[in-house]
């Protein structure tokens, strides 16, 4: 709630006509000519603050009148309406109606207590004759020219005549009155007599000065007589028993001498003489009102009541706000103390009082308390009239926008020039800030605080600093209503300091000057700068901004020189250009360029610039020219506007010496100019930001699928640090993106396929440089850096989608080394041999071509004789644990299988002797079946001699043979009868020399299947005798396993279970192969799915096979399969029927 809810205004405050009566005169009250609020003691005291000094004056008078000591002569000294008259009135009313004194306000309890005592004492004094001599009223201080004519009586023409008349003893001084001769002290003493008399003399200086200024000698002489009279009066009072004389003097006693009010300065001698004439007699000096009394006086005079609780609450909430961690720096440490003062000054902010006192102290045309009340009445009335929500009365409420207040403050000739400045700067210019109300408030705060100094630079230490300005502008209700944060005040102050023409700052102080500002000159000069000149300036800055961050471009920017990492861009910054207006570009090479055009471009022109060369031909590299330009002319106008100002800044900068002769003024103005022109906050910063933000549309090459022609697309651009960065971000963020900073092979392949180029599956080899060229020349393709394309190609090699051919060498499959065919364990994960980086002349081969070419060179077996034998080098694929020589693989297997099989180079050392090779190593046979194996005995090296063959079982067609140069090999048949019992059996055949040494051993495995008919695929009929059950599944499907387990788990055991899977995880291809023998079916059911689930969605291939045999006996009986069960297994199950015998 605003302060208006916590105070009650005196009714008179709402009446403008009473403003001028804010300070009643003593004479007016005495004569009953003032308003009742002043003439009625009760009303008067309700609006009166009795200060400690005033109470002291009252006590002194009471003591003197009661004869208890005290000074009988009291001088009230102060300048400019410093409460002299009000003190006189207080004494006047107190003696007329002592009890009314209790209505008065006091500053503290002690004073209130003193007042209570005073009421008693004044009542005891009894009847007191009160004489009022007020220099403003001829009825009370007549002159020969304006005498007091007593109806039906006499004519009074002097001040002493008035004294005698008011005491009812005019006759005793009649002659002195007629002759304008001051009566001596003894005559006066007689007049005063023994009864209590209180003489109040006010505005005597004005009275005497007026007479002294007269051209009439009689009057001037009378004036001199008054001085003499006052001295005599003082002496007479001193001699009297019950008379008290109170005289007000418009002076202050200072160490350096007497200070008199401005209006009396020309008559200093007269006022000084008057002062001296009274002060010759010992008197008591009282300064009725100090500056510290002003808040209390204002509160009493303006408000009938003030809610102290509200004051306390606001003081505490302000202290909390000022002291909050985030605001400490802003408001400063002293702010909390100020918030505490609010409790006393409420509803005035302490800064309001400071400002008001400052104005009244320095202002040449205003009086202290009197005008403080007058101004405050106007301020409060305005707030009350609009029902202001303000929680405090702030300095800016002394609102210079208000004509009445402006008239009061600025009508003096010293300040008259400010009226235009207020209009121009405070009222108009503040409108251009984003928070106009705030900055206007700040401007008003600074203005009312500083205008009385008339803008002198020499006073700058007296001007407010930023903290004072912020504290004094921050009014909580306004901050809430406008949603302002404390820091917004500092932002606004900084803006005002740069942008308000007459607001100066120096050494952290702010003030309004009346000097013509350089900003005004810049503005005027800017109007004379031509558009073409401004455009040159914009172009100059646009060139700088192409690749340089804006804060490095702006002079004096705080980050200047600090390097920030600039986003990498595919644009060539050395080839990118700035154009004032659109025109053909002479560029047709393999680099992306950005063309910044400083004017909007028509659509028809965009295509021309992107695709045509200056000669009118088509650009070969049609995907390389990108445009950035302003969407409309508004941005351009803004750029030009700031450029003109910047040019004007330079011109005015050079003229400063001749404009400002005073070096101190010049220095301040130079700083003002620099602040306005330079750095990020100045014109230069604004120009730079305008260029960056004004280039807000990017045009890029594109392909229209419908019309099948090259065209362009537009995308919005948001300002970044440089023009190139702005365009780069726009191209990256547009949907779908035009710029790809990263590219994997899959994307590259897809993009090229969209342009009709198939690099992995086709049958053409392409140069790397050609592939890169596609991107530079095809608008259908995105913008990609050459390096990125090459990296994607390398990734293609790594994933075996393409190969690279460089100087005859193929980069494709990696060849693993094997020491022998038995010691060959290539990794299960296939690797590749990819070049570290690509060269433009490298050929990119589709994978089939790459594989074919790579394998063609690896077909042959190479042998070389070495000591003790031969070294045989041959290449093979490692497939299912077997080595398949390349030549055989090429003849018998497809390239798809070979691509993913490890390729090895086998380097074998073979001792001289023989090799025993079998035509088969594993044979499946029925029980008792006879099988035949062909043995090839082959010579190794230069072996010669007799050999014998020995087999662990079966019969050899020949067991002796001879090997020599003529017969280097021999073929023998080996017949074996398979055992009757089903199972797996191994048999060896050895070649021995004549000494019985084994030269070579080879092994064959015979798997004996149980007897029965042919294997039957599908689900067996219920009751079928089953000797063997096989299940083979390819794919992520463990249902058959579960069904088989439920049907045969208790009666069969697993003779063999094999699982193979392959997965793909982050580019790796892990493979798992697992063989289980003699385990329970339940184990398989747990293990296999667990492994498969481990790889989950990454799995690419899964296969498993089970072979089950009856746990007991030769067969099991097939159970009944439900329809669902049968469906789940029928495609995967094979069984053998048991045959009796």
């Amino acid at each position: 709630m605003g302060f208006l809810s916590h105070v009650k205004l005196w009714n008179d405050v709402l009446e403008p006509r009473l403003d001028e009566k804010a300070a009643p005169s003593l004479g007016g009250v005495h004569l009953g000519k003032e308003e009742p609020i002043y003439t009625d003691p009760l009303e008067f005291f309700r609006r009166t603050l009795v200060t400690r000094h005033m109470a002291e004056a009252l006590e002194n008078v009471a003591d003197a009148l009661l004869g208890r000591g005290g000074n009988k002569l009291v001088m009230l000294l102060s300048l400019y309406g410093g409460g002299k008259t009000h003190t006189m009135l207080t004494i006047y009313h107190a003696f007329r109606n002592p009890v009314a004194l209790l209505e008065a306000k006091t500053e503290d309890n002690e004073t209130r207590e003193r007042l209570r005592r005073l009421v008693d004492e004044l009542s005891r004094v009894g009847s007191v004759r009160v004489v009022v001599l007020d220099g403003y009223f001829s009825e009370l201080t007549p002159t020969p020219v304006n005498p007091l004519v007593v109806p039906g009586g006499y004519r009074v023409q002097t001040i002493w005549g008035s004294l005698a008349h008011q005491l009812g003893r005019f006759g005793e001084v009649r002659e002195n009155d007629e002759k304008l001769l001051a009566p001596p002290a003894d005559v006066i003493a007689r007049l005063l007599g023994d009864e209590p008399v209180l003489i109040l003399v006010d505005e005597l200086a004005d009275y005497v000065v007026r007479l002294k200024s007269s051209v009439d000698n009689v009057l001037r002489n009378y004036a001199d007589q008054i001085l003499s009279f006052m001295e005599s009066l003082a002496k007479a009072v001193d001699l009297s028993r019950h008379t008290v004389l109170i005289v007000s003097m418009p002076v202050e006693e200072r160490r350096e001498g007497l200070e008199v009010e401005e209006r009396y300065k020309s008559q200093l001698g007269v006022v000084t003489s008057l002062y001296r004439s009274v002060s010759r007699v010992a008197s008591r000096r009282i300064v009725p009102v100090a500056s510290s009394d002003i808040p209390s006086i204002l509160r009493v005079r303006i408000f009938e009541s003030v809610d102290d609780k509200a004051a306390k609450a606001l003081s505490s909430s302000l202290a909390k706000l000022y002291g909050a961690e985030e605001n400490k720096e802003l408001f400063g440490e002293d702010a909390v103390r100020k918030a505490q003062q609010v409790e006393k000054t409420y509803p005035f902010h302490p800064s309001y009082i400071e400002t008001l006192v400052d104005i009244l102290d320095k202002h040449e045309g205003l009086e202290k308390t009197r005008d403080a009340i007058k101004i405050t009445r106007k301020v409060v009335r305005r707030l009350a009239e609009v029902g202001s929500p303000a929680e405090l009365i702030m300095p800016f409420h002394i609102d210079v926008e208000d004509q009445e207040i402006r008239g009061t403050l600025l009508s003096h000739e010293l300040y008259r020039q400010y009226a235009t400045i207020v209009e121009e700067d405070v009222v108009e210019r503040t409108k251009s800030y984003e928070k106009p109300e705030l900055v206007k408030t700040i401007a008003k705060t600074i203005f009312v605080k500083t205008f009385v100094y008339t803008g002198s630079i020499r006073h700058h230490q007296l001007y407010p600093d930023k903290r004072w300005v912020i504290i004094s502008s921050y009014e909580p209700s306004m901050a809430r209503a406008l949603n302002l944060q404390p820091k917004d005040y500092l932002d606004a102050l900084e803006w005002a300091s740069s942008n308000l023409v007459y607001l100066l700052s120096e050494g952290g102080r702010y003030w309004f000057t009346q000097f013509t500002s350089p900003i005004r000159r810049v503005e005027m000069t800017a109007r004379t700068v031509e558009d073409h000149e401004a455009l040159k300036k914009v172009e100059e800055y646009a060139w700088k901004l192409l690749a340089k961050p804006y804060e490095d471009v702006v002079s004096g920017s705080r980050r200047r020189g600090q390097r920030r990492e600039v986003t990498e861009s595919p644009f060539s910054t050395s080839s990118s250009i700035v154009l004032e207006e659109p025109k053909p570009i002479d560029h047709d090479s393999r680099e992306y360029i950005l063309v910044a055009v400083l004017s909007p471009i028509r659509e028809s022109e965009i295509e021309k610039i992107i695709y045509e060369t200056p000669s009118g031909g088509s650009r070969r590299y049609a995907n390389t020219v990108y445009l950035i330009f302003p969407r409309d002319n508004n941005s351009v106008s803004q750029m030009l506007g700031f450029a003109k100002h910047l040019i004007a800044c330079d011109i005015v900068g050079e003229e400063l010496d001749s404009i400002y002769e005073d070096s101190e003024v010049r220095e301040v103005m130079r700083k003002k100019l620099e602040k306005y022109c330079k750095e990020m906050e100045g014109v230069e910063g604004k120009l730079v930001m305008n260029i960056l933000a004004g280039l807000n549309l990017v045009a890029y090459p594109s392909f229209d699928e419908n019309s099948h022609r090259n065209t362009f697309k537009l995308t919005d651009a948001s300002m970044a640090d440089t023009i190139v960065e702005t365009a780069t971000r726009a191209l990256k963020n547009t949907r779908p993106p035009k710029l790809y900073e990263e590219l994997d092979f899959e994307q590259l392949e897809y993009m090229l396929s969209q342009a009709g180029i198939n690099i992995s599956e086709g049958d053409s080899a392409r140069l790397v440089s050609d592939i890169v060229d596609y991107f530079y020349s095809n608008p259908r393709l995105p913008m990609v850096r050459e390096e990125t394309i090459k990296n994607a190609l390398i990734e293609g090699v790594k994933t075996l989608r393409i190969g690279v051919k460089r100087s005859g060498k193929i980069f494709f499959k990696k060849v693993y080394e094997c020491k022998s065919r038995h010691d060959c364990n290539p990794p299960s994960m296939e690797e590749v041999e990819a070049p570290r980086e690509l060269e433009s002349s490298d050929l990119i081969l589709p994978w089939r071509m790459a594989l074919q070419e790579q394998l063609e060179g690896l077909r042959d077996v190479r042998e070389e004789r070495v000591a003790g034998g031969i070294r045989r080098i041959w290449y093979a694929f490692h497939i299912n644990g077997n080595l398949v020589p390349v030549a055989k693989a090429l003849d018998t297997m497809d390239l798809d299988s070979l691509r993913n099989s490890p390729l090895v180079r086998v380097t074998e050392f073979i001792e001289e002797g023989v090799d025993v090779k079998l035509d088969k190593h594993e044979i499946t046979a029925s029980p008792g079946e006879e099988v035949t194996i062909t043995i090839l005995v082959d010579r190794i090296g230069g072996f010669k001699g007799e050999l014998s063959l020995s087999a662990t079982s079966g019969e050899l067609s020949s067991s002796k043979l001879s090997i020599d140069d003529e017969r280097t090999s021999a073929t023998i048949n080996w017949r074996i009868k398979a055992p009757e019992e089903p199972g797996t059996y191994s048999y060896e055949v050895k070649a021995l020399n004549t000494s019985g040494e084994i030269l070579k051993t080879s092994t064959v495995t015979i798997i004996v299947r149980p007897k029965g008919r042919e294997a039957v695929k599908g689900v067996p009929p219920k009751g079928t005798k089953l000797s063997l059950i096989e299940v083979e599944v390819s794919g992520f499907n463990f249902k058959p396993l579960r069904v088989i387990d439920s049907k045969f788990g208790s009666e069969c055991e697993v003779e063999e279970a094999v699982l193979e899977l392959e997965a793909e995880i982050a580019g790796r291809k892990p493979k798992v192969a697992l063989r289980l023998n003699g385990v329970a079916l339940d184990d398989v059911k747990s293990i296999f799915p667990a492994i498969a689930q481990r790889y989950g969605i990454s799995m690419r291939h899964l296969w498993y096979r089970l072979r089950l045999r009856p746990r007991n006996g030769e067969y099991v009986l097939a159970p009944e399969f439900s329809e669902n069960e049968a469906r789940d297994v029928e495609n995967y199950m094979t069984y053998y029927v048991f045959e009796e015998g």
């Binding site: 706000l321 909050a324 961690e325 985030e326 605001n327 802003l330 251009s432 800030y433 984003e434 809430r480 949603n483 944060q485 404390p486 820091k487 500092l490 932002d491 606004a492 900084e494 803006w495 740069s498 942008n499 705080r558 980050r559 920030r564 990492e565 969407r631 941005s635 990020m680 906050e681 910063g685 604004k686 930001m689 305008n690 933000a693 004004g694 807000n696 948001s718 300002m719 963020n733 547009t734 949907r735 779908p736 993106p737 994997d744 899959e746 994307q747 392949e749 897809y750 993009m751 982050a1066 580019g1067 989950g1096 969605i1097």
Partner: protein, 331 residues
């Protein structure tokens, strides 16, 4: 299932899991493995909130019902699919808003739309895995479509999963009267975390939410504070971030630090501090700024964070339209 599905048949899946991985596995199985496409998705209450079996568990009261059909074909670049999804689903989101969808219902509906665009292709080129695809394209497209439908026009910067979660919580969840911060119930929390690829546990650890029993409080600038600075300071305090020497784990942390600076420091000081943060956290800084841009466009006027983010972008990322203001602001 795909084999058994007739050509014009419809397969409906109920998803009530709480893990984002499992949702991706479902997508992977249905789309990549079985060759089905999602044609719509809805959030449906399938469990009683008070069921005994849910006690102490992060189970879902709401299931994501996805409708699948046969018919995937062709390839597309992920970026192209994104822009198609954005185009179609922004309109769809607007339609849903018009007919009164909000919160999780709106989110799942739009997610379904986005998924329908992506899964109609047999292959989306440019993402190495389903995880990458959902994280970098599908979920951001969902968030952006919702943000655009709600009035945010700025292109979404590359937002991490935590930023997406924060953005969606801010735009989808309404604050109840007298609540100082938005609160997400268990199901909403779970669905938003799934739909942004977050684990609830991580979101708690990273200071995005605070769990209070069954509810999750979004750590956002507090509502109902007399001063904005206090609103954002409170969230920093809750997160244990010291504004004097801040450390940021996520772009959301950094956003709140920037908000605090923007509202308490004068423009020049704020720019300086922001530069320091930019140097320390370059990626998080860009992301925080992107998040601020979107939030400025989509937050309701009463949300204190709307003004906070606006304060940031007015100084750090003035757009063309905002530039005038920026100049008037003294730069």
């Amino acid at each position: 299932m795909a084999e058994k599905l007739v050509n014009n048949g419809v397969l409906v899946t109920y998803y009530a899991h709480t893990s984002p991985d499992a949702w991706e596995a479902l997508l992977d199985a249905g789309w990549r493995s079985a060759g089905l496409r999602i044609t719509a998705a809805h959030a449906v209450v399938t469990e009683s909130k008070h069921r005994v079996t849910a006690r102490g568990k992060a189970g879902l009261d709401i299931s994501i019902i996805a409708v699948w059909r046969k018919g995937v074909s062709g390839q597309v670049l992920a970026g192209e699919a994104y822009s198609r999804a954005l185009e179609g689903c922004t309109e769809y989101a607007k339609t849903l808003l018009k007919i009164g969808f909000d919160g999780v219902n709106l989110f799942v509906g739009v997610l379904g739309c986005v998924l329908s665009v992506f899964t109609r292709y047999e292959k989306v080129v440019g993402a190495k895995s389903t995880g990458e695809l959902v994280e970098e394209y599908m979920y951001p497209a969902t968030a952006e479509a919702i943000a655009r439908a709600l009035g945010g026009g700025e292109p979404a910067a590359r937002l991490s999963s935590t930023s997406l979660f924060y953005l969606l919580s801010k735009v989808l969840i309404a604050r109840r009267r007298r609540q100082v911060r938005r609160t997400l119930d268990r199901s909403t929390m779970t669905i938003l975390s799934i739909g942004t690829r977050n684990e609830v546990k991580n979101l708690k650890e990273l200071g995005l939410v605070q769990q209070e029993g069954d509810k999750f409080r979004l750590l956002e600038p507090a509502w109902g504070q007399r001063e904005l600075a206090r609103a954002v300071r409170s969230v920093l305090e809750e997160k244990g971030i010291n504004p004097g020497n801040p450390t940021a784990r996520t772009a959301v942390d950094l956003l709140h630090v920037l908000e605090y600076y923007a509202i308490t420091l004068p423009r020049s000081e704020f720019s300086k501090k922001a530069e320091e943060l930019r140097a320390r956290y370059p990626a998080l800084y860009e992301e925080a700024l992107g998040l601020a841009r979107i939030l400025a466009g989509v937050l309701p006027p009463g949300d204190p964070e709307r003004e906070l983010v606006t304060s940031i972008i007015n100084v750090l990322a003035p757009s063309q339209t905002g530039l005038d203001k920026w100049f008037r602001g003294g730069k």
